[in-house]
Amino acid sequence: MSENTRTTTGSTVAAPDARPTPPPSTRTPSGGGLLSGSIGRNLGLVVAFALLCIVGIVTAGDRFASTDNVLTILRLAAVVGVVSIGMTFVIIGGGIDLSVGALVALSSVWATTLATQAVAADVHWIVMVGTAVLVGAVAGLVNGVVIAYGKLVAFIATLAMLAAARGLAEIIANRRTQIVQDQDFLRFFSGSVLGIPTLVWMFALVAVAGWVLLNRTTFGRRTFAVGGNAEAARLAGIRVQRHTVALYVLSGVTCGIAAVMLMARTTTGSSTHGTLLELDTIAAVVIGGTLLIGGRGTIVGTVIGVLIFTTLSNVFTLNNLSSSAQAVAKGVIIVAAVLLQQRVAAGRRQRRSSKALPPTAAEGAPAGASPGVPAP
């Protein structure tokens, strides 16, 4: 969390300092196309991801490179990915949501109860989708209200929700796995469009929507403000509390969507769905360059973060590593990836700052630094 304490302060005076300097990848997008902007900022991550893929190809050859395998990776990434998008908003907004896994479970269970499925059978499977999303949204609302108005630490509030939601899911499902009966539902969601699985489309859609919302709308800009400096946001007339609630509802909604995706993928609703999902998503978001203290982060980074983790376990499986060895390797690779990311970032800063300073004055170059540069 305080990682960036160091940074922001650290940035006035660039100097040796315990706190990790955040890669510029975490600089909030201020205009600039997706490609030039976000990807550029996440260059280090991209490189790390590319390396990972190369390893995959070298070790598993076509088995890795095959379309099927790529789709497999994407399908797996989809569920975690959708939730991670919501999580990105919450974290940039200065919060954290530990309840996502439980909410996915609760939504999936609620949407697959006999009652719900009965109604769905009569009306349309959209009812199940609606139920899942609604349950997620409401749970998110509760999180948000408790945090924004009850002034509870987000960590505690959502931890409580984690326990409560899972318990509730178990009670509703009576700990049995609920089978999805509606074939149309399954056909729709487990199908493909243009050879790309529906789930992947959904992920793509959510990601793009998230990117626009974060970088191109007032809501997104205010999210950065609320997370970056809540008091300043308040003084600027932003209704911080209301906005915070909205963020958690958003996260809840993504959980609902993820629940639907899981239901399609597994044809079941279960109180065990999404176990430890919170850890996976937060990890993906943070490795994607979003600061846990809030105020900075990118959707693109998160997406790459998700891909890195899913690709990692895929490569492991392809290479038939013992799961213990996998764990160790995973740890090492994560560290390596982030370190690489930082070095690249640093390198990029060097180059950038050596030419036109202004945008990256972040390193605290004094006015006097480059007297020649005339004003625009």
């Binding site: 922001t8 302060t9 940035s11 006035t12 005076v13 660039a14 100097a15 040796p16 600089r27 909030t28 201020s30 205009g31 626009v212 191109r216 709308t217 007032t218 800009r221 205010r222 950065f224 403000a225 997370g227 970056g228 400096n229 008091e231 300043a232 946001a233 308040r234 003084l235 600027a236 007339g237 932003i238 209704r239 105020g295 900075r296 300073l357 202004p358 945008p359 990256t360 004055a361 972040a362 390193e363 605290g364 170059a365 004094p366 006015a367 006097g368 630094a369 480059s370 007297p371 020649g372 540069v373 005339p374 004003a375 625009p376």
Partner: protein, 518 residues
């Protein structure tokens, strides 16, 4: 006072009371502001100025009191409400979002959007225009605010206020981080505004500014109005001060002690120090008991010089010696160990643990003195801290209070107290009196001089040239990262210094953007 009708003031605040846990910040303050006037709000550190204007901005809810806007009573439930009335505020503690761009900050909360989508281009154009008006075209709308200097950030919040086309603009110590040039430019803007009938509430501890720009003065002391409606230009300074402080203070600098040891071996020797892109080949020495002043424009690299000397920045070349011993470059702890102290310029980010009690902030660099085998004697700590707070007339007296709850000026005093407490061989002060009231200033000057007389070598950076000239024995004028002059203070006057600074400007830079060309 362009055509104001005194009968119906633009703003009336009556009997405003605001209590914080453990503190009565405002105990019935009155304020009335006419359209088109510059109304100066004066008071000691902790008098309640910022609290009052926060109430006016809807940021704090008053416990009692009425606010009338154009004669009609209003309730300012939140900042939005105040803005809607046409009240814009420049807060003392720059409340900007470091992670957002300049343009984003200027229009935060009032973003223009079409179909829910932002229009960055529009905002950026508008911002660029505002910055040009403030004479800071070099501050680009796309730049991240966190990357800007305190001075530049101040400009952003001013631009923010201007962008609101407000009827009343409140400025809480806007000049604290600015130098003369920039203050002049700010005043020009203020005059334009008042000419258009906009009212300005102006807070500052620099009384000469009040003379220049002010129309009427309201003085508050300990959370109560002690005088209001005084004519800004006529009222003699002594009277204002005694109203503020309840005593008479000669706002003068302490006598220089004559034995400024030119012969004595210097305590601090800086030779050919360079930080690429910041400054180059800076050399100077400070003798024991000598006070060296660093003058220059904002961005001239004064702070960087201090930071480099202190080890907070790693110099590319050159060396620093204290009592002849070479300091390990880029190692603050080593410097502190060698008896060097730095009171940095940005108190909030660089100096204070806002959540900690006052005494802990003060004793942080001197813990060794209060600990035996690593174990602290809190009692001794507090006693020592109290001595300092009394010496600096820091309020509140209660050293257990969290620094966060202190007024701006009092926070600055805490920073100074830390280094006054630790008996240093070399003391580096960057803008030591930023936001400090007149009363405390003279006390600080006296303390610094007293330290010097005890053989400490002092280096003072200040954007107020009179302060440099008055306090220092010798003045180093920096410009564009180079030493332009190194002369005894007595041999300089304000104009001479300014001229020197101008010389230092790179040819080509226009008069309006000097020192700020990014």
């Amino acid at each position: 006072m362009a055509g104001t009708d005194l009968s119906s003031p633009l703003l009336e605040m009556q009997g405003i009371v605001k209590t914080f846990p453990g503190v009565r910040a405002l105990g019935g303050v009155d304020l009335d502001v006419q359209a088109g006037e510059v109304h100066c709000l004066l008071g000691q550190n902790g008098a309640g100025k910022s609290t009052l204007i926060k109430v006016l901005a809807g940021a704090h809810q008053p416990d009692e009191g009425v606010i009338r806007w154009q004669g009609a009573e209003v309730r300012l439930t939140d900042p939005q409400a105040a803005m809607n009335l046409g009240i814009a505020t420049i807060y003392q503690e720059l409340d900007l979002v470091a992670g957002l761009s300049v343009a984003d900050n200027v229009f935060l909360g009032r973003e223009r959007s079409r179909f829910g989508l932002n229009r960055p281009a529009t905002d950026q154009r508008a911002t660029a225009a505002l910055m040009a008006r403030l004479g800071h075209p070099e501050i680009r709308p796309g730049t991240e605010v966190g990357a800007l200097s305190a001075a530049s950030q101040q400009m952003v919040s001013i631009a923010r206020a201007l962008s609101q086309d407000a009827r009343l603009i409140v400025m809480d110590e806007p000049s604290a981080v600015l130098d003369n040039e920039e203050v002049e430019r700010l005043f020009a803007v203020v005059r334009d505004l008042t000419a258009d009938g906009v009212a300005v509430v102006y807070i500052s501890h620099r009384l000469e500014e009040i003379r220049q720009i002010g129309d009427r003065i309201t003085v508050i002391k300990d959370g109560a109005t002690v005088a209001t409606g005084l004519p800004a230009r006529e009222t003699p300074t002594r009277e204002v001060i005694s109203l503020m402080t309840g005593r008479t203070i000669e706002y003068v600098f302490p006598q220089r002690t004559e034995r400024v040891a030119v012969t004595a071996t210097p305590v601090l020797e800086v030779s050919d120090l360079s930080v690429p892109g910041r400054f180059s080949d800076v050399s100077f020495t400070v003798a024991p008991g000598e006070i060296l002043g660093l003058a220059g424009l904002v961005g001239s690299g004064r702070s960087e010089v201090l930071e480099a000397v202190y080890g907070a920045r790693r110099p590319s070349s050159g060396e620093v010696r204290v009592d002849g011993k070479r300091l390990r470059p880029g190692d603050v702890a080593a410097a502190v160990g060698a008896g060097v102290g730095l009171a940095p310029e940005e108190r909030k980010s660089q100096a204070l643990m806002l959540g900690d009690p006052i005494y802990r902030n003060i004793t942080l660099s001197s813990l060794a003195r209060f600990s035996r085998a690593g174990f602290l004697s809190v009692r001794a700590e507090k006693a020592a801290a109290r001595e300092q707070t009394e010496a600096l007339d820091l309020r509140p007296v209660d050293v257990d209070r969290e620094v966060r709850t202190l007024s701006g000026g009092n926070q600055q005093k805490v920073v100074l107290a830390r280094w006054l407490l630790r008996d240093c061989r070399v003391l580096l002060l960057d803008e030591p009196t930023r936001g400090v009231d007149v009363g405390a200033r003279s006390e600080i000057y006296a303390l610094v001089r007293a330290l010097a007389d005890r053989g400490v070598a002092v280096v003072v950076v200040s954007s107020e040239i009179p302060e440099v000239l008055g306090l220092a024995d010798r003045v180093l004028v920096l410009g564009d990262g180079r030493v332009l002059a190194d002369e005894p203070a007595t041999a300089l006057d304000e104009h001479r210094v300014l001229d020197l600074v101008m010389q230092g400007l790179p040819s080509g830079a226009t008069h309006t953007t000097e020192g700020h060309v990014a």
